[in-house]
Amino acid sequence: MAAKKKRPARRGAVRPGRKTRKKRASRRRNRSRSWWKAVLGLLVLSGLLIGAYSVYLGKTVRVKFEGKRWAVPAQIYARPLDLYSGANVSAEQLKAELQFLGYRKVAKVSAPAQWAQKGGRFNIHTRDFTFWNGREPGQAVVLDTNASGVTRIRSGRKEVDLLRLEPALVGSIYPAHNEDRVLVQRAELPDDLVNGLLAVEDRRFYAHAGVDLRGIARALVANIRAGKTVQGGSTLTQQLVKNFILTSERSVWRKFNEALMALIVDARYSKDEILEAYANEIFLGQEGGRAIHGFGLGAYFYFNRPLRELRLHESALLVGLVKGASFYNPRRHPQRALERRNLVIDRMQALDFVTQAQADKARQQKLGVTVRGAAHGHRVPAFVDLVRRQLRRDYREEDLTSEGLRIFTTMDPWVQQRAATALGKRLQRIEKGRRIEPGSLQGALVVVSAQNGEVQALVGGRDAGFAGFNRALDAVRPIGSLVKPAVYLTALSNPDRYTLSTLVEDKAVDMTLPGGQRWRPKNYDRKLHGEVPLHEALSRSLNLATVNLGMEIGLRPVASTLRSLGVSREFDAFPSLLLGALSLSPLEVAQLYQSLAAGGFNSPLRAIRAVLDVDQEQLQRYPLTVTQAADPAAVFLLTRNLVEVTESGTGAGLRRLLPKGLQVAGKTGTTNDLRDSWFAGFSADRVAVAWVGRDDNASTGLTGASGALPVWADLMSNIDNVPLKMTPPPGIEYHWVDAAGRLSAETCDGVVAFPYIAGSQPAVRSDCTEQQGSGGFLNGLFD
């Protein structure tokens, strides 16, 4: 534009002859006047055009800035940890929990999210957190632990009855275009981060109007001197416009658009607004198909802590990544990243944003990034998958990936971690010990809270960090003998006919199935055992006794027991059902056993407690519900029988593997040709189901006792469990019975006390009876 103005002036400088001077002068005046007019017209026209174009761009900017700026993925939280005197939380677990939360270990606690430890004593300053049922303010506490857990919590001189640590952020549901982010506000941006950005990317951010001519000139000089591009002249505003609104195409036209839009953005929005948008838009890394956007998520992704808690060297690293997140990837190229980070610190020092001492200290720090996989999100893909499926019943996929929902789940990160380790390590050991091809075995593990059905952990395969086939939900396999408890529960619910000591016949079975197939099942040891007490038929997992018993009570009642215990999948009530010709996923098996563990009360398995919207308003709660599925007295008898399985039956291997005194109930399951190895069982407070098999469904060479059982045992030994107390519900009586199932005196040889539903004890007495005979003192206990 400036050039156009000068042109006529230069012409005017030419000196013509005198004669024609006047005429020419007037002609010239006319011509120059028309020139001016043309120029003016052009100016006005281009001004109008630019104006109109600016209005158009302005509208684009406005739409982008003032609408919903980003699709904000739903954030998924683990369960919060309740701490109180008497909580079974060991020092080891507490340390792990503090690590999950990204608390810093320090010598002396002086700020939120810090902790210190001396022996069994912890000093912890918790963070503020808003839950679905209110805010929990951060506070500094002293917490004492011993071998059995937390003994005392104090805040100053005050005893703290109940303390809740905020839940760890464990994942997000990001949209199809794979941009994941955690939104932050301007006020949450640490000064170091902002100063670092200014120092490295845009020194005159607060002075220029969106485009920095001086910056461009300085960059030009620097680049000419270096002979290559070493500096960019783009302002933060231009970078924002480029990433946020425009495509990444490189052209002069785009550069022009970028500059024009930067001017518009700067004119229309405050510097703080621009900074906030920049901080949320910036690309900071890639993990598989997931793109890490914004400093908010970046802080979690690299340091597992909220942005506002970052220190100088950490903020400087994030700033350094702006130039090239993959080139300076601190996990892949730590040296490069370190140099870049220190350069950021140098520039900050040069501009007096930090003192020499601060800069020196920061430069000495290690990078401090978390190990890959341990960082925010995606260490629990199987669990996030379950949460997502449960949410899909109530929400549109679009809302989950864009509305910034906060989802509070039931996941227990400590149990989850232990479960993943138990499965991975044990499978490796089995393969090594049995010379099985390494890596050929697969497995799944589900842990559920016994009384309320909350899913605490879900492992979908031996590489728990890998988001692949989720076997815990999708490996739908025949459950084999895991079905037997339903057969025996059906029998025991009919106390007039069946008790634990009733004799059942373990004799050959030969029948034709619907469809014409002949069915001749065998016992695992291929023998016939004749008459055996019912409890033994189950604890030894005798197939033939079970089929005979099941056919006697009928397939329909057994099928109906299975349904009330929580099996919702369709299945055929064929005789082969009695031996587990019923295919379920490990999660579905967990539902079945949860009903047993809860004394016959079914609670639908839940992975979510509550959903909050972006303004912390509760959208939904998933309350605790129970439905009575079986008679508690019959379930008690069955549970006593399942304890026997783990003490002297097919699951007796547990005794070597479990800590002494941990009484549990459980059942092994093995399917044809040793394809599937199952173990399902429970303590007083947790239900766990382990499955081991192969993805190609070939034989593993493992029974339930040699494959899934040790996995189950490793898990249960490594988390705290309350032993089964076996408190009989009302209506249960104990009686002494001999090996033949006859009532005997308690002083007779070889007698065992069995629980009976009142009135169902055997009527036949053995020869060895005394006056006080049946029950004796025992029944006095339960009047």
């Binding site: 033994e536 009360f601 709660r621 605790l624 408190t727």
Partner: protein, 201 residues
């Protein structure tokens, strides 16, 4: 020590529950009554007797029937008999954290914050999943929310966990069940539940 704690719980139990709940959970009355019996129980327990009020014979007996071989040569043993766990007192002393949550729930309920009350009780149940009183209290909140189907189930759950020595709690549960069934139009079921409640009173 046990004596004082136990009496405290009775006291806090009766103050925590509001007027309207008194009607719904008459077992609060039990608390007052239990102060007397509890005191006697406690005094006897503190008076140098063993903590259990079961005959000392139990301990001797538990060891006598040795693990018996079910069949000669069989690999299966019938587990030796261990005496079943049995409640020492009608209601065990809850953890302090549970009492705190219970009184919080009672306060929330009195203020009409039924969602808050149920959240507090569910939280307490995560700490003490087998506490029959908590299940009962949750049933009371659901009654106030008129979730009758759930009330019946929660009260049945409480009954399954309640100590045989706690007829008062079981009777309260049956009364809740009766009320919920009546609200659902199940008159005969309600009458049956009332009869069971009366038989326990």
């Amino acid at each position: 020590m046990a004596c004082s704690i136990r009496l405290n719980r009775c006291r806090s139990g009766s103050t925590e529950m509001g007027k309207n709940t008194m009607a719904e959970s008459p077992f609060t009355g039990f608390c007052r009554a239990c102060a007397a019996t509890g005191l006697i129980l406690m005094l006897s327990a503190c008076g140098g007797m063993s903590r259990t009020d079961t005959p000392a014979r139990v301990e001797e007996r538990s060891a006598t029937p040795q693990a018996t071989q079910a069949e000669p040569g069989s690999d299966v043993q019938i587990a030796a008999y261990t005496p079943p766990a049995q409640p020492q007192v009608a209601r065990a002393q809850p953890k302090r954290a549970v009492s705190v949550l219970m009184s919080r729930a009672a306060g929330q309920r009195d203020n009409g914050d039924l969602d808050g009350a149920s959240a507090s009780l569910e939280r307490a149940l995560r700490i003490a999943p087998e506490d029959a009183v908590l299940w009962h209290e949750l049933a009371v909140v659901r009654m106030a929310q008129q979730q009758h189907h759930l009330v019946v189930q929660l009260a049945a759950k409480s009954n399954a966990l309640a100590s045989p020595r706690d007829p008062s709690l079981r009777s309260s549960n049956w009364r809740l069940i009766a009320k919920a069934r009546r609200a659902q139009g199940d008159v005969s079921g309600a009458r049956d539940a009332d009869r069971r409640a009366s038989s326990l009173d």
